[in-house]
């Protein structure tokens, strides 16, 4: 924990989102730029004042896409850093922006992310990897292994998993930025095509395109940049962990919620807050099973109770711990580089009280968690 020595207080002062979905005639840099322009407008800070930018993305679209995205806004000569950290690429960019300010190096920072994920099952390794012949590199099959084991250990029925997807779509129906806005029933989720049993197609997040951006500012500098302090949201914690030995070895660990517990515990310690303080949460629901396991790992529901919490409505918008309040990966879709900052966007929007029909009344504390290949996990806690 010695490396987590909080420095200056950091606020998110602007957020922006490009809708998630499919945008065949728009390149990655253009998606990213639109989100940045929206976030800058929301913050009230002009581009020429931004001293540093971090850009999260995974798939190759040529070199230095961050520079390509920002160049048309004006060549101001600032450091622009491209960040690849699997599904945590966006949240890793955010983490760097946070520390850039907390450390005292910058007063402002831009974190943004974008992705155009190809269709079909997502794999982690390169095309010449032995995994191609072994058959284990299959993101959703990994989640399916977790689901089967979880069901055996906790007695969770298939309906509990499916309910996560039903809830996601119900919320997304109220979110114009979501990739999938049509709702469906428990029966429809269970009857959709099997991808890797017990996971059906509607229990797996769509591969998507989209972009998200956030502008961060030192709390002590809000006045200097004329920022509306009433809409600024405090970053109470930002943690990032990668794989640590768990006794099982590398083949298993990529799918373990074990990391979420570690990064979450660090975030609770850094913020001085606990699970009981959290009013709403965004977790990495790439598949239905993941939502309940991350909630348990973050101590937001008791161990083994994630499925009951789901069926009881505790995780719904009106429940005790509203979860994935914009539709999550399951309905928003999952453009890797954008997802982590999309979660920041939603949490900030909720804490500002600007979430419209999706608003969690009186929300004061929000948590966001992302996990990715390489056992990368990020957690942030935000306060009003």
């Amino acid at each position: 924990m010695s490396q987590l020595r909080p420095g200056r207080e950091v606020m998110v002062i602007g957020v922006g989102l490009h809708p998630f979905g499919r945008f065949r005639d728009k390149d990655l840099a253009s998606l990213a730029r639109d989100a940045v322009v929206a976030a800058l407008k929301d913050s009230g800070v002009p581009w020429k004042d931004i001293p540093v930018a971090y850009f999260g993305h995974v798939y190759y679209h040529g070199m230095s896409v961050g520079e390509t995205a920002l160049g048309p806004l004006g060549l101001t000569g600032i450091p622009i850093i491209n960040v690849e950290n699997a599904c945590c690429s966006g949240s890793s960019a955010f983490w760097q922006a946070y520390w850039g300010i907390a450390s005292g190096m910058f007063d402002l920072a831009l974190a943004f992310g974008a992705e155009k994920v190809p269709s079909g099952p997502v794999t982690v390794t390169a095309a010449d990897s032995p995994e191609r012949y072994i058959g284990g590199d299959h993101m959703m099959a990994g989640y399916a292994l977790r689901a089967r084991r979880y069901m055996a250990e906790t007695g969770a029925p298939p309906e509990a998993l499916a309910q996560v997807a039903v809830k996601a779509r119900q919320i997304a129906a109220m979110n114009p930025f979501a990739h999938r806005k049509d709702t469906y029933t428990l029966e429809q989720v269970l009857a959709s095509r099997l991808v890797a049993d017990p996971l059906t197609l509607f229990q797996c997040c769509p591969t998507s395109e989209g972009a998200a951006a956030a502008v961060l500012c030192a709390k002590e500098s809000l006045g200097q940049f004329g920022v509306d302090a009433g809409r600024a949201i405090r970053v109470a914690a930002a943690t990032l962990t990668s794989g640590s030995y768990n006794g099982k070895g590398s083949d298993h660990s990529a799918f373990s919620p074990y990391r979420t517990a570690q990064a979450g515990q660090q975030a609770y310690e850094m913020s001085g807050l606990g699970p009981e303080d959290v009013d709403l949460v965004q977790v990495h629901d790439a598949a239905t099973i993941a939502e309940m396991q991350h909630l348990e790992a973050l101590n937001l529901v008791p161990p083994g109770e994630g499925w009951r919490a789901t069926l009881d409505g505790r995780t719904a918008l009106g429940g005790a711990i509203p979860t994935n309040t914009d539709g999550g990966l399951l309905a928003m879709g999952h453009p890797f580089g954008a997802t982590g900052i999309r979660m920041v966007h939603e949490t900030v929007t909720q804490l500002r009280g600007e979430a419209g029909p999706r608003q969690v009344p009186g929300a004061q504390v929000g948590l966001a968690q992302c996990s990715g290949a390489g056992d990368v996990t990020t957690v942030q806690i935000f306060t009003k």
């Binding site: 099952p121 095309a127 012949y133 284990g136 292994l145 084991r149 030995y245 006794g247 070895g249």
Partner: protein, 160 residues
């Protein structure tokens, strides 16, 4: 002088599977055990994943384990050379490490978390060449009665 046989079966990953005959029908899984802290991981390694020490022994693993979890993959990843669907197992080896591999010689109805499994080797044709990769898989470790029952079920399933 004999020409090297280009089509001689090769291990899919020599750090994990060592073939012990030229035909590629026999082999052992490799592990690494740390002489400092005692932990054992799947595959050969130079440094310990737990304590980071560099004093490791390459060991031959027993190839026996239990099925920790499984799934039947119906939408395969790009490049998968086998039939679909296929059973993907998460096997907990008796030495401790977990391994993801295909489960073969087992009807879907015969799958059960906790069942004993053993190493099975299978040749897989590589794309665009005659070369053969030998891939580690697992199959149920059956009693004689169980074996004939599973064979019967597998045969019944194959018939239309």
């Amino acid at each position: 002088m004999t020409q090297p046989n280009r089509n001689k079966p090769q291990s899919v990953d020599s750090r994990r599977l060592k073939l012990t005959n030229d035909a590629g029908t026999q082999g052992v899984l490799l592990g690494s055990c740390c002489r400092q802290c005692g932990i054992c991981v799947f595959g050969s390694a130079s440094f310990c994943q737990s304590c980071t020490g560099g004093d490791l022994a390459t060991v031959e693993l027993s190839g026996q384990g239990i099925l920790y979890s499984y799934t039947i993959v119906r939408v395969p990843p790009a490049g998968w050379p086998g039939p679909v669907p296929y059973i993907l197992g998460q096997v907990e080896l008796s030495e401790g490490p977990h391994v993801l591999a295909e489960i073969v010689d087992c009807p879907e109805t015969g799958l059960e978390i906790g069942m004993a499994v053993v190493l099975a080797l299978a040749p897989v044709k590589t794309e665009g060449s005659e070369a053969v990769k030998v891939v580690y898989k697992f199959r149920p470790q059956l009693t004689t009665a169980g074996a004939s029952k599973a064979r019967l079920e597998a045969q019944r399933k194959e018939k239309p």
